[in-house]
């Protein structure tokens, strides 16, 4: 396609570089420096897509992120939906098509990289336009640590889209020199293509940097495509500029209808004439610059339609010089056109009502209804806004600690004023910080702004009808008629109006439509706009991809993985792993043809009849040291720990102050003043925190210190009647006889010079030894144990077998068989609750009436009568009924199944359950609904295997 709308020279594009791209299947060409929108406009293409609800043709209505209309889907090089043609920088090979309001996510994973960076600065300046650059220079020259972020590809802000001059030269020269100076300051971080999209507490700002998007398929794969900057700033200067606001009139949504400033930007920045025959409709002076500049570039400007009764003298003369007719006191009431706009209806305005309209032919209709300062970040910081009648816009109404607004974002609408305001606000930020000497850099001289007339506030031109083609939010197809319906329905709050009409909920979050909706609603209700206000500005300022927010925290890096020292051995042996907290633990080791059930039955039988080995390294381990270590443990465990002898081990239970069990485990007394506390895998961090909390906040006088040694010590239970043979073979210097090394004691030894600790602890009821060794040597020791066990058929087993073996013995898993409402007595562990100690955490709660209730749920065993059904864990247990049918709802619940397995030892399935008054029901039959049937189960004691405890000594 030809670039018939490209100017012969000018603009900030590289005309020597041609970029080929495809839009809607058609080939186009553009230049480096173009956006997709500017390249399409250069080829004369305005129409982008049809609208979401009404299917009306829509085009490009602005030059940057405020465009409510031109949404596209990128197809190549990687699918990405819902981008604005105005913000997609053009690259070679780009393929895209227009979107009717909704996109499509890629059906392949995004292979690009995303990451995050932190920055801590004295002053963060958002926006590198004239005000932002002046603020950044002021702060940088004083030696402050400065971050300057700007969403465009290059610095300059509004200067990029104008022909302004500074110190007699093009403004771009001053911008370039400012950028060079900032780069020379070592403490300045200057990021372009970086949008500060959210402002949070205490100077915390999130900014999205698009690092390689503009390179398309040529982007280096090793570089993060986008980066989220997490910036903590002591002072923030919001110099985010202003968005032009349209005026609403009938059929104001056709392609070819554009904000006047947008057309000026397309001309000056991209060398593109947005049309050949233009009508300019304005309520203020700013659009005259667009009319004059476009006329100078060869666009025939058929009329400037100024709603104000009088046009500004300076601009009248400029228009007269170019033969541009100016119709003051007039408005555009509607448009004609097949797809693109073909004519504007212009009518005189009398007493606020338009008179008879006359069509004026045009293929471009530029609109300006004034400017909305971009107060988004200020508003996110909970800054309040006020409506400034003279400016016709909402402005910051207060000074916030640490967040200041400068330039046109603060309502300063001329270049010299923006420069001065940026310097003033930058200096004020420095003064607040007391960083360096507030410098006052000389500012470049801007040309005098022509004397002008104040703007007129005009939200809409009445269309004489119901307003159903007067679009307020183009992306949502929401009109003045929708606002009238909202007002008619009694809605008064703009928050409600927004949700009723959906105005301001699209990709642009109401950058052009939000204040219009407030203004029109106020008119409809007959109240001042200050009374309606705006809706809340929320992050993000512009859309942010979830991939960018996720950064590197995806896939395997989503959550840290913890593995034991023997992990690779487990992998090599074909273990199936399960996640226990962040740990990867072997669940079972299937042999060829085995499913989990078969593998677990085999592992259980081998362990109970011969010997098994488990990697128990994930058990929490806390080293408790100090003269008062025993005092602390006595206060935190329900049983007595101070009487434990050095060399011995004791099982203990910990409760909260409410008397409910929070953890259990064994305690080894290593010395008079030193204990090793073992916790559950899941409770390791929680219990260390719990102990620390008491030591620090209640008993700081105790001389005791706590340290986690979970990862330092690997732990391997060797379990089963043959375990003594294995341990004896590996540790020949230890007398492993029951007399010399009885149950619940520990012994230190060495293996090849490496210290090893052995403990007679059993979580299965079998003869068992736990082997503790420094994780550095763990794999070697594990392999020695396996080697020594080979003659005995040693079987590695995983967590599933561990669970079955412990459940057969009625040993609860805290957090599985308990849920925070279970006392030691409920678990049948009254024996682990000291009656001698005057107090310990939880003791006083045991005597509360609720804890004395005989109908409390108690841990019992369940045996399905059919000897076949494995009850699903979590199943409810219901009241016995003679007729075998469920009683009418609500069905009386007795409790629930907490653990359920198939037992090799018992030759049948069994379960543990919490049952109301359970111990009194032993011998009863209760029922468990499974699927559609009621399964009868016998209530038993919780210890189903070896209730006499005959096996633990081998």
């Amino acid at each position: 396609m030809s670039s018939s709308f490209r100017t012969p020279d000018g603009g900030r594009i590289d005309r020597s570089t041609t970029l080929e791209f495809v839009f809607d299947g058609q080939s186009y060409a553009g230049h480096a420096g173009d956006t997709l929108a500017s390249a399409l406009l250069a080829s004369g293409r305005h129409s982008i897509a049809t609208s979401v609800k009404l299917g009306r043709p829509r085009g490009i209505a602005a030059a940057w992120a405020e465009d409510p209309s031109g949404l596209v889907q990128i197809e190549e090089p990687f699918p990405e939906p819902m981008l604005l043609a105005t913000t997609v920088e053009l690259y070679d090979g780009l393929a895209a098509h227009g979107l009717p309001g909704q996109g499509r996510l890629a059906d392949v994973p995004d292979s690009a990289r995303y990451d995050a960076m932190h920055a801590h600065v004295d002053v963060l300046v958002v926006g590198a336009g004239p005000a932002g650059l002046a603020a950044a220079l002021t702060a940088a020259r004083a030696g402050a640590r400065v971050a300057l972020v700007d969403e465009q590809a290059e610095a300059g802000g509004a200067l990029l889209g104008s022909d302004d001059r500074l110190d007699g030269s093009p403004a771009a020269d001053w911008v370039a020199s400012a950028v060079v100076e900032l780069a020379a300051h070592p403490e300045v971080l200057h990021l372009q293509r970086t949008t500060a999209f959210g402002l949070y507490d205490d100077g915390f700002v999130l900014a999205l940097q698009r690092r390689t998007d503009h390179l398309g398929g040529a982007a280096p794969r090793h570089e993060a495509r986008q980066r989220v900057w997490r910036i903590r700033a002591r002072q923030i200067v919001v110099a985010a500029g202003a968005h032009e606001r349209p005026v609403v009139f009938a059929d104001n949504d056709r392609p070819g209808i554009m904000l006047a400033g947008g057309a000026r930007t397309f001309l000056h920045r991209y060398g593109v004439r947005a049309g050949s025959e233009a009508v300019v409709f304005t309520t203020n002076d700013s659009a005259y610059a667009a009319a004059v500049d476009l006329a100078d570039a060869g666009v025939r400007v058929a009329a400037v339609v100024d709603a104000r009764p009088e046009a500004p003298g300076h601009w009248l003369a400029a228009c007269a010089d170019r033969g541009i007719p100016v119709r003051s006191g007039s408005v555009v009431t509607g448009t004609d056109g097949d797809e693109r706009v073909a004519a504007a209806h212009v009518a005189p305005l009398a007493d606020g009502r338009p008179g008879d309209a006359e069509p004026i032919a045009c293929d471009l209709l530029l609109v300006s209804g004034g400017w909305n300062p971009a107060v988004h970040l200020f508003s996110q910081a909970r800054g309040t806004l006020r409506f400034d009648a003279a400016l016709g816009a909402f402005l910051p109404a207060e000074e916030l600690d640490g967040v200041a607004v400068a330039g046109s974002a603060a309502g300063v609408m001329d270049l010299a004023g923006c420069l001065a305001d940026g310097r003033r606000v930058g200096a004020a930020a420095l003064a607040a910080l007391a960083v360096g000497a507030p410098a006052e850099p000389a500012l470049p001289a801007a040309d005098d702004a022509p004397a002008g007339l104040g703007p007129m506030t005009l939200w809409r031109v009445p269309d004489g009808g119901d307003g159903s083609t007067s679009f307020v939010d183009l992306q949502r197809d929401a009109t003045v008629a929708d606002l009238a319906r909202a007002a008619g329905a009694g809605l008064r709050s703009m928050e409600h109006v927004k949700r009723f009409t959906t105005i301001g909920t699209a990709h642009d979050q109401g950058k052009t439509s939000g204040v219009l909706a407030s203004g029109i609603t106020a008119e409809l209700l007959g109240i001042p706009i200050q009374a309606t206000g705006t809706t809340t500005f929320r992050p993000p300022y512009t859309p942010v991809a979830f991939a960018a927010l996720a950064g590197r925290d995806r896939g395997r890096l989503f959550d840290p993985e913890r593995t034991t020292a023997v992990h690779d051995w487990h992998v090599a042996e074909g273990a199936v792993f399960e996640d226990v907290g962040q740990w990867k633990r072997p669940r079972y080791y299937p042999r060829a043809g085995e499913d989990m059930e078969a593998a677990v039955l085999r592992e259980c039988a081998a362990t109970r009849s011969g010997v098994g080995i488990l990697d128990g390294s994930t058990l929490g381990k806390i080293d408790v040291q100090g003269p008062d270590a025993a005092v602390l443990l006595d206060r935190l465990y329900t049983n007595l720990m101070s009487s434990l002898k050095v060399g011995s081990v004791r099982y203990g239970v910990m409760c909260g102050v409410d008397g409910m069990v929070i953890d259990d485990g064994t305690v080894l007394r290593l010395a008079e003043d030193r204990f090793l506390v073992l916790t559950t895998t899941g409770g390791a961090a929680k219990i260390l925190d719990w102990m620390e909390e008491w030591v620090q906040t209640e008993w700081p006088e105790l001389r005791v210190h706590l340290a986690s040694v979970t990862e330092q010590w690997s732990t391997f239970p060797v379990v089963g009647p043959r375990s003594r043979d294995v341990i004896g073979a590996v540790f020949g210097d230890v007398d492993v006889s029951n007399e010399a090394f009885p149950f619940m004691t520990w012994r230190d030894t060495t293996l090849g010079g490496v210290p090893v600790r052995l403990a007679r602890i059993s979580f299965s009821g079998e003869l068992a030894y736990e082997v503790y060794v420094s994780s550095w040597y763990a794999l070697a020791v594990w392999e020695r144990l396996v080697e020594a066990g080979r003659p005995h058929g040693i079987t590695p087993y995983g967590t599933e077998t561990m669970h079955v073996l412990r459940a057969e013995k009625g040993y609860p898993i805290i957090g599985q068989d308990t849920d925070g409402t279970v006392t030691p007595h409920d678990l049948g562990m009254a024996w682990a609750v000291s009656k001698k100690k005057p107090d310990f955490v939880g003791k006083r709660s045991f005597s509360r009436p609720a804890n004395q209730n005989p109908l409390r749920k108690q841990l019992v065993g369940l045996l399905p009568v059919d000897r076949e059904t494995v009850l699903p864990e979590g199943s409810q247990i219901v009241e016995f009924r003679d007729d075998g049918r469920l009683p009418a709802p609500p069905v009386p619940m007795l409790g629930h199944v907490t653990s359920s397995y198939r037992s090799a030892e018992l030759g049948r399935p069994f379960a543990l359950a919490l049952v109301k008054g359970g111990r009194a029901r032993i011998g009863d039959t209760v029922h468990v609904p499974v699927g559609g049937t009621l399964v009868p189960v016998e209530v038993t004691g919780s210890v189903l295997v070896d209730p006499e405890g005959a096996r633990r000594d081998g």
Binding site: Y200, D201, R232, Q696, E698, R844, S847
Partner: protein, 92 residues
């Protein structure tokens, strides 16, 4: 994300901290001497004011030490941080 002043480490991001409920609720001297209601007040009852509230915080992902803070529950602003053994400060 707020910055919270740890009295030992200085200002750190809020995700490093763990909330510990109302401060200055001491473990009773002799729990056995309390009746059920008094004990229940210790275990279950805490103030829930709008405005200044003395709270316990722990710098869980930092120095792992506990401290107290007076925080405004309406504005989230931390008005004072102090050591656990110090009395609640008087803030004008």
């Amino acid at each position: 994300m707020q910055l919270i002043e740890c009295p030992w480490c200085g200002p750190r991001e809020e995700v490093e901290f763990h909330y510990g409920g109302q401060a200055h609720v001491a473990y009773p001297e002799d729990p056995a001497a309390l009746d059920d209601e008094q004990w229940a007040h210790y275990v279950f009852y805490r103030d829930n004011p709008k405005g200044r509230f003395a709270e316990r915080w722990s710098h869980a992902a930092g120095c792992r030490r506990w401290f107290n803070a007076v925080r405004d529950t309406a504005t989230y602003r931390f008005e004072s941080v102090y050591h656990p053994d110090q009395p609640k400060p008087v803030i004008p």
